[in-house]
Symmetry: C2
Subunit: 284 residues, 2 copies
């Protein structure tokens, strides 16, 4: 199988590594808009060849859109348009973005819709760029496949095989449920980390050495604040309504803590903490 | 040196392990109010002997108060009172609590004040109880010693030796600065984690399988929400003013994100994320 990956960042680059070394891809082509990243990806050997967008669509059996979701929404119809011009097209295109509703909407009425499979491999780190790519990133994690009934079964099968080569387990879901779920278990934790970083960085203006005492707990809570704006701006914007619901509930919870602390209401603080402790049931 | 540890939880228990195995303590006595924990501590072999509070003060050269800070504030004067009745007392008492201002205030006018050294070993996990104790917990971490000019130099020296045996580096600070710093780099990250857990647990009432998609990022952000109420209620209450400042700034930052997302203001979302990214300078 010839695999074309558009966007050689953390996700695209890591897929390139494992699809090649595990034999799923006989050839991996890469498209990368940023010249420095393209040169780095070639030097590291992430892909067999850097190609243009057009060459990538021409040469590949399966095309992976691994760019920020704002760009992906514009790119997906362009690729489907190209598929339309190919006789007996058997090519498949997938995306790997963190929001799914706009992507499935933009493709919905396209005559080549069935060649697209919406997927979201739930893996990553707070790092970005081809330098962040690593083998084994996806092993054992979940991959969500959305609205698979809108794709043709052969295309779904190819994509299942691809994720199976990455050792991922598939979960099937509609795109609107996907976006609700990710707002709560992924997007909001990024916003809370960003806000925490901003809070402490603000304080650092008066208290130069405030980070000397930063502990492991602080580091783990603030880790996601290193995440890349190019990726996260369109996610938060495209998943606006769900993220706002989550953020509003979250601000209410923060205010409940705030008021209990302000009132020295130790019984209420205890109640809030003990309720929060139920997370033990989920996170071991 | 004979060491008495009051409170055999994560911190007290971990100190017991390393002070004994590294030869700083020839004998370790433990006081534990909770019978199950006392029996467990004895069974695990954390201490040489479980003793009463009075025996602990009588037998030990150095007494470590490792109980929640609400209890510590009541216990410290009782121990200093006992020191007063001992002729030529050379005993030392320390605490290991996460807030320092109330403790140093409550001891300030005590005639035996110089025998107390206020310290805060900056180490821990989100687990608690004697089962959570582990060797090496403190290695390489910072230990803050507060208001050391109020302690006698011999007592400070003993405590420095103790923390040196735990492989900690000492940082000296006054207790009020300590409490500001810990509000920002420790206490608030606990509150934000608790609030995140409550937000997602609330949503789980409607969306049963929401945690199926929880990723590594979510786990690391919410990890501290497993922390124990017995420890955290008095910390948040004693450090009320500093924690409120931090929480209020934090809520403002969350609202800034909220408004930018609500307005689809991608330029503003980008500005906020890129400012937060400066945390890379601090957290590698």
């Amino acid at each position: 199988m010839k695999v074309g990956i558009i966007g050689l960042g953390l996700i695209g680059g890591s897929m390139a590594i494992d699809l090649k070394r595990r034999g799923f891809a006989e050839e991996v082509y890469g498209v990368e808009a940023e010249p420095v990243n393209a040169a780095a990806a070639e030097k590291i050997g992430l892909v067999d060849r850097i190609v243009t967008f057009d060459e990538c669509v021409d040469l590949s059996d399966i095309i992976v859109i691994a760019v920020p979701v704002g760009t992906a929404v514009r790119m997906l119809p362009q690729i489907l348009d190209k598929f339309e011009k190919i006789e007996n097209c058997r090519k498949v295109v997938i995306d790997v973005c963190s929001t799914k509703e706009q992507l499935t909407k933009v493709a919905y009425y396209h005559p080549m819709r069935a060649h697209y499979v919406a997927s979201h491999p739930m893996a990553g780190t707070e790092y970005s760029g081809p330098w962040a790519a690593m083998p084994g990133l996806f092993d054992g994690r979940a991959c969500i496949i959305c609205n698979s009934e809108e794709s043709n079964p052969r295309a779904v099968k190819v994509v299942e095989d691809l994720y199976s080569a990455l050792n991922m387990r598939a979960i099937y879901m509609n795109s609107s449920n996907h976006d609700v779920h990710t707002a709560y278990v992924s997007h909001i934790s990024h916003v809370t980390s960003f806000a925490l970083a901003l809070t402490v960085l603000d304080k650092e203006k008066d208290e130069k050495h405030i980070f000397d005492l930063a502990s492991g707990g602080f580091s783990s809570t603030v880790r996601l604040a290193k995440s890349n704006a190019d990726m996260w701006v369109p996610i938060l914007s495209q998943n606006r309504d769900n993220v706002l619901h989550a953020v509003d509930t979250y601000i209410e919870k923060m205010k409940a803590f705030r008021d209990a602390i302000a009132d020295y209401d130790e019984a209420e603080i205890r109640k809030l903490i003990e309720s929060a402790n139920s997370i033990k049931r989920i996170i071991r």
